[in-house]
């Protein structure tokens, strides 16, 4: 894993980024917009994958980290009148702090209890959004006004509502997060995370403080998910409580399972694929959650390693 072919791995990832860049000029308008959204949500999935794929901790509450970024950035703009860069940082910081607190509490549990505890904390988070409706817009959510979504550097200004700017911003965020993730999983720290997933007790007996290592992973994972949420608020201009609901804790799990847990590119593939499936089936049924449900069951039953996990197992052992 670690020493094999760093050049190949980085070349592949840069190739994917280049492909996404080129697609910006080729795709028709509808798919162009869709792919912008998918890249931002794939960042959410990447963050989720760090904890679920590499550390083996199945959280059912990651919507709260996405939500922390979404509201941390959105409220900063709407209620405090902050500029885009500061709002983005504010969203990320909210997610990081929340992840630290949740990690300190939830990591005292393991297995099924961890899943339920994270789900309950996320439930509290989404209820808090409804409770403070006068500030958060409650059920209705809030729109981030267009004039507030412009970045100004001296004379030049970037309008985040412009499709191309939006696409490139999403791609920039995605690329940075993807490369950071690749570096993490190839690092010594990544090796420790995988060891914890495989056998935590044994890892302790090699002298590792597994609690601290897991806590760091929760914070990294939560921060990345918050970055996705913050970007979503600023790029697409909508902040809503549905993004903090249980459903948005399940979706990243589904994307990661589909693309392949513990693969760096799996989250992107899973997100693209799921959106594509829902896009096709939307002609036949409006109940897209039905598709989600069926996909979840089929995946755990017949395809637990996902697309890239299976490819890695069968053909390309070097895939990170």
């Amino acid at each position: 894993m670690s020493d094999a072919s760093p050049v190949k791995a980085y070349a592949l990832h840069l190739g994917v980024i280049a492909l996404l860049f080129v697609l910006s000029f080729l795709l028709p308008e509808y798919y162009h917009g869709l792919l912008s959204r998918i890249m931002v949500l794939a960042v959410f999935a990447i963050g989720y994958n760090i904890l679920f794929g590499y550390v083996g901790l199945l959280s059912l509450g990651h919507a709260m980290f996405f939500g922390a970024g979404l509201y941390g950035a959105g409220l900063a703009v709407i209620q405090l009148g902050w500029g885009v860069p500061l709002a983005f940082v504010s969203g990320i910081a909210c997610g990081a702090v929340l992840a630290l607190v949740i990690g300190l509490l939830a990591l005292r549990t393991t297995g099924v209890a961890f899943m339920i505890v994270t789900m309950m904390f996320a439930q509290v988070f989404s209820l808090l959004i409804l409770y403070f409706a006068s500030w958060t817009g409650g059920d209705q959510g809030m729109v981030v006004p267009q004039p507030a979504r412009v970045l100004t550097f001296g004379a030049t200004s970037l309008d985040l509502t412009n499709p191309t700017v939006r696409y490139m911003s999403a791609l920039a965020l995605f690329s940075v997060v993807l490369l950071i993730t690749l570096a993490i999983v190839r690092s010594r720290y990544g090796r420790v995370l995988i060891a914890i997933r495989e056998n935590e007790e044994r890892t302790k007996m090699l002298g590792y403080d597994t609690f601290s290592n897991k806590l760091i992973a929760v914070v990294v994972s939560g921060t990345i998910c918050a970055a996705s949420g913050a970007a979503y608020a600023l790029l697409f201009g909508y902040v809503g409580s549905s993004f903090a609901s249980v459903q948005y804790s399940i979706l990243p799990l589904l994307w990661v399972l589909l693309g392949g847990a513990a693969t760096t590119l799996g989250p992107l593939i899973g997100t693209v694929f799921m959106y594509y499936v829902i896009d096709i089936t939307s002609g036949y049924t409006s109940a897209y959650l039905l598709i989600v449900g069926i996909a979840l069951i089929l995946l755990v039953l017949f395809f637990p390693k996902g697309v890239l996990g299976t490819i890695r197992q069968r053909w390309l052992g070097w895939l990170p």
């Binding site: 309950m120 409770y131 069951i297």
Partner: protein, 293 residues
């Protein structure tokens, strides 16, 4: 109304909530206790019970009691059969792996919910109570049907307790719960026990929904609150403990009514959920359980 009668009324309402909650949570607790499976779709079995009750009473017509009695027999059987099929087709193939089964039951939740939306629709529909006798207390009249819910629930709970502690089936279930491998070695058909327990858990949820549906209404999203409350009850009561489940159900059911008099329902939910999460973090054996295993 004076304070005393007011309190009595609140207590009665709380007892009705507790009675339904105890049955639902018992189903969840049995499934977790024996199979170590956290059934996230449990609330959907509850919902199915209510929706089927509406369908059956509507189809039969005539005197409300007739349709209700038919529903009381048929609906749990249908729900049990659905659960059994789901168990055979999915959970068994996953070898009851705790994490995979949670993901799979989340899938079931979405499937059942969306199918209900497709075939039953988004409306909330009423079911008529089988009888509408009002008991006249000195201070107020109270629905006889609601009192009968408490009685029915108590009867079912006692029956379940007797089955678990006094019969061969109960012994087999407890043996499987204690150590499934050894049970298998002693010739207990563990696979069939699991199938039966999963179906039984779903049926208990369906019966609970049937009892409550004449006072609430049937709706395709009605499974969410019972699921959350059952989780709370099972966690507070200690995972897999029957007595703890009943005690916790009464506690939660009674306090739910009283708390929502003082706080907004959202705030009450926030506080309750947070408290329960803390119980799981700091006292995972539950408030009444002991750290035995």
């Amino acid at each position: 109304m004076h304070f005393g009668p007011h309190l009595l009324l609140a207590a009665l309402e709380g007892l009705v909530t507790s009675a339904v909650l105890a049955l639902t949570a018992l189903g969840l607790s049995l499934v977790f206790g024996v199979m170590r499976v956290v059934n996230v779709a449990h609330g959907e079995f509850f919902m199915l019970g209510a929706v089927l009750a509406w369908a059956i009473t509507t189809a039969i017509g005539g005197h409300p009691a007739l349709g209700f009695l038919a529903a009381l027999v048929i609906a749990p059987l249908i729900v049990g059969a659905i659960a059994l099929v789901a168990e055979r087709l999915v959970l068994r193939r996953l070898n009851y792996n705790p994490e995979a089964t949670i993901v799979a039951t989340i899938g079931m939740l979405y499937i059942i919910q969306q199918l209900a939306l497709t075939f039953y629709g988004p409306e909330a529909r009423p079911v008529e109570p089988p009888f509408s006798y009002r008991i006249l207390l000195p201070w107020f009249g109270y629905s006889g049907y609601k009192l009968s819910i408490i009685a029915a629930s108590a009867l079912i709970l006692i029956a379940t307790w007797l089955v678990l502690t006094r019969t061969r089936i109960g012994l087999i279930m407890r043996a499987t719960q204690y150590d499934s491998e050894t049970a298998q070695a002693f010739g207990i058909p563990v696979g069939r026990v699991y199938g039966g327990v999963f179906a039984l858990g779903a049926m208990l949820a369906a019966i609970a929904a049937l009892l409550i549906v004449p006072i609430s209404q049937a709706h395709y999203l009605m499974g969410q609150d019972p699921l959350l409350l059952s989780f709370i009850v099972v966690i507070i009561g200690g995972l897999g403990s029957l007595r703890g489940t009943v005690v916790a159900a009464v506690l939660i059911g009674m306090s739910d009514g009283i708390v929502s008099m003082f706080f907004s329902p959202t705030l009450a939910k926030i506080i309750a959920t947070l408290l329960v999460a803390m119980v799981l973090v700091f006292r995972p054996q539950g408030l009444f359980g002991t750290a035995s295993r």
